[in-house]
């Protein structure tokens, strides 16, 4: 006798397993989350096809894409969330992404990570698991990471995490079928099944665990994530979660929670946010050690001891001094500004090229037109000579030193060292990035202030960039000039600039209220710089710099020539310091006199003076490095005393940013703030310059 299989009896009025009563649309939701630029949108497009709607998330300007697909036999809504680095949001995009997870009740969360940066992205997977969300992990960009030499045990990673993990390359479609199958299986949920995906659970320090236990007992489950995750976010100082808890628990319980957070924080030297983040990273590192093999280059033991010395607040400073002495003073200053500029400007251009061109062009053209090409402000004798013979060698060597610092891994360690100092002025090491970039170009760096987390930080850094950070060409030329005068001149220059930087930073931090944000970065390995890398980086920087600077220097020559044209006997004539240009020079004489630079009166006594202080001011505002090159030219001709060199270098470093930077300041911070900063910078620069001049002349440190 055979037994027929029994058909399951249909349950009466059982709701469809596709129905999602907690969502207004009634459809289950698949939320795709992950850091920016990890390929979320590509995977979203592959899952949803062409039917996609893009709209702003309610109450924000953040765009969110939504589409539909079939998974687990149901029609599922898929949402492509904005990029987020962690559940603790910093930016508006991150806040929107988290709100989506908290408020839209996703049935499945697809965390997309960039496989080659798994170490940095896995902590968020762990955080999503802590939140009790049902997660599937897509190890994306697998092709790129494998090309770099990374190898993964995807199955083992899935076992370690306790969730489905699939390797994908969204751009080529690799692994997409397997990912869809995994999501399909994960989405065959039963309406009554619990949502929590088992997953891995991190154990924190006993004091934190105790705090988590007490907080969860007090508040229960006020948010749509696991109690443990809510407690951790409260310990990490999450303002939004605290507001949510405030609405849902009694004032007494809330007060107790605040006390627990404060008491727990007091037991650690570092902020709780960092303690928790570091523990999560350590857990991620353990998993990665068992499931991923990094390229040989990344496995090499790092020079840990040297790395610690470079970042140590005391031991690190002598290293900075050594870098400045050998890299800037000896190499850029003595060799670049001294030897190379001497060879190029005096011997090649001054001795051969320019005299030959002058003879040639003066033979062809009238004085009016020949002055356009080979006169005091001639295109060849001024614009091209400055760009090629003065600025190019100095800036080239400066870029070389910078590239060595980058390629060796010293630059981020310098950022960590400075982070400690920056904290005193209300900034964190993240502010190092725009400030370091400012040494390249302040205009670009002002735009980079967008990476800073708070408005307060953005304003302080914009002001410091405008005031105390000279761009690469300007700093190269000034440091070269000062090195020629001597180490004392260099020391006074650095002393004054650093003093003003710190004082203004401290005052700005006091005036502008707000909290300082935390900063931590993963350091690249320390290594001997690779010649090929250093040369290519230097060449690339120099190539674009030169392409940008040469036309502007030529334009400056033309403008100076035009401004010097004047009517003599009814005919146009070129008169140095005459015409419109002469008028401007005379108007700026008081400022030049204030810091002891030549005025139009001095030009009468010494016709060799190509520029007055006023011209240098004006040309510096047009283009910072052009003004610096003008000063270097006067210095090379022996027309500036050591006091004038130091005072003018300090004043022009602090002086108003160039016109391009001012325009970006206006764009980023608004006209009122930009004008206010410009006025402040003008007063500080000339005030500091005049005061320094009085001190130097009174003490006689630099001669008279």
């Amino acid at each position: 006798m055979t037994t027929l299989p029994r058909l399951p009896l249909p349950k009466a009025k059982e709701p469809c397993h596709c129905a999602e009563p907690e969502r207004a649309s009634g459809h289950p939701l698949l939320a795709i989350v992950g850091c920016p630029n990890v390929g979320k949108s590509v995977i979203f497009n592959r899952l949803t096809g062409a039917y996609v709607t893009v709209s702003n998330y309610p109450g924000t300007t953040v765009e969110v894409s939504r589409g539909k697909t079939k998974l687990g036999g149901c029609e599922v809504e898929v949402v492509d969330t904005p990029g987020m680095y962690a559940l603790l949001p910093i930016t508006e995009e991150e806040a929107v992404a988290r709100r989506l997870l908290l408020e839209e009740h996703p049935r499945q969360v697809l965390h997309v990570v960039d496989a080659k940066n798994l170490q940095r992205m896995l902590p968020m997977t762990l955080q999503l698991l802590e939140a009790g969300l049902p997660v599937t992990l897509a190890l994306n960009m697998l092709d790129e990471s494998e090309a770099l030499g990374f190898q993964f045990d995807v199955a083992e990673l899935g076992r370690e995490l306790g969730i489905p993990v699939r390797g994908t390359a969204g751009a080529t479609g690799r692994g997409m079928t397997e990912l869809r199958d995994a999501l399909d299986a994960a989405c065959r949920w039963d309406i009554g099944a619990p949502r929590e995906a088992g997953g891995l659970c991190i154990t924190y320090d006993a004091r934190i665990e105790q705090a988590i236990g007490t907080i969860t007992a007090l508040i229960g489950r006020p948010a749509a994530i696991a109690e443990r995750a809510t407690a951790l976010l409260l310990l990490q100082g999450d303002v939004e979660i605290e507001a949510l808890v405030t609405e849902r628990v009694s004032p007494v319980a809330l007060e107790q929670v605040r006390e627990i957070v404060a008491e727990t924080a007091a037991q650690f030297a570092q902020p709780l946010n960092i303690v928790i983040t570091l523990r999560r990273q350590a857990a991620a590192n353990d998993i990665i050690a068992r499931t991923m093999q990094a390229p040989v280059e990344q496995q090499r033991p790092k020079l840990e001891w040297l790395s610690r010395i470079l970042m140590h607040p005391l031991a690190g400073l002598p290293v900075v001094a050594l870098v400045l002495y050998f890299g800037i003073y000896k190499f850029v200053g003595m060799f670049g500004a001294g030897t190379l500029v001497g060879l190029l400007e005096e011997n090649l251009f001054g001795g051969i090229i320019n005299p030959w061109l002058t003879r040639l062009i003066e033979g062809w053209l009238s004085p009016l037109w020949s002055n356009l090409f080979v006169g005091d402000y001639g295109i060849f004798t001024l614009g091209i000579t400055y760009a090629v013979a003065i600025v190019l060698p100095i800036v080239g060597l400066f870029f070389l030193v910078f590239s060595i610092m980058e390629d060796s891994g010293y630059l981020p360690r310098l950022a960590m060292l400075i982070d400690r100092i920056f904290k005193k002025i209300g900034l964190n090491g993240r502010a190092v990035i725009p400030l370091v970039l400012g040494f390249g170009c302040d205009t670009m760096a002002t735009m980079t202030t967008r990476v800073l987390e708070t408005r307060r930080e953005r304003i302080i850094v914009t002001l410091l960039l405008a005031l105390a950070i000279p761009c690469s060409a300007q700093s190269g030329v000034f440091l070269g000039m000062l090195s020629q005068v001597g180490p004392t001149a260099l020391g006074i220059y650095f002393g004054v600039i650093v003093l003003i930087f710190l004082t203004v930073g401290l005052l700005a931090a006091k005036v502008l209220p707000g909290q300082q944000a935390q900063f931590y970065i993963e350091l690249p390995p320390l290594r001997l710089p690779r010649l090929n890398n250093v040369l290519v980086k230097t060449y690339t920087r120099l190539e674009w710099y030169f392409i940008e600077v040469l036309p502007l220097f030529i334009l400056a020559s033309v403008l100076l020539w035009l401004g010097s044209l004047t009517l003599q006997g009814g005919q146009l004539a070129f008169v140095p310091h005459g015409g419109l240009f002469g008028l401007i020079e005379r108007a700026l004489d008081p400022l030049a006199a204030l810091i002891g630079l030549p005025t139009t009166a001095d030009v009468v006594n010494n016709p060799a003076l190509k520029f007055t202080g006023g011209t240098i001011l004006l040309s510096g505002f047009f283009r910072r490095d052009f003004g610096a090159a003008g000063l270097a030219d006067l210095f090379a001709d022996g027309l500036l005393s050591p006091v004038q060199v130091v005072v003018s270098a300090v004043t022009f470093t602090l002086f108003l940013p160039c016109i391009a930077q001012f325009l970006v300041m206006k764009k980023e911070r608004g006209l009122r703030t930009a004008l206010g900063m410009a006025a402040f910078v003008l007063v500080i620069s000339f005030g500091a310059g005049a005061l320094l001049r009085v001190v130097l002349l009174a003490t006689g440190w630099m001669g008279r």
């Binding site: 970039l437 205009t443 735009m447 980086k537």
Partner: protein, 69 residues
């Protein structure tokens, strides 16, 4: 440029030149050519975009020495 891989000198993040160009604010001041830099999508640090000439030279050398793939 699309396939060039870049490692951020500040935070060690790996990204492609395309990602680096995408995360940049594209400065209007320097015209349509932009500043020819790439920006790390993670920390915002800017680096020069890979120059064409060194890459072309490396390719030529590889061809001449028979090491081209």
């Amino acid at each position: 440029m699309k396939d060039t891989r870049i490692t951020c000198a500040m935070c060690n993040h790996h990204f492609t030149a395309e990602e680096g160009a995408k995360s940049c604010g594209n400065c209007a001041l320097l015209g349509a050519g932009g500043c020819h830099k790439v920006r790390c999508p993670r920390c915002g640090y800017e680096m020069p975009a890979p120059a064409r000439l060194p890459a072309a030279i490396a390719e030529l050398v590889a061809k001449l020495t028979g090491k081209a793939s």
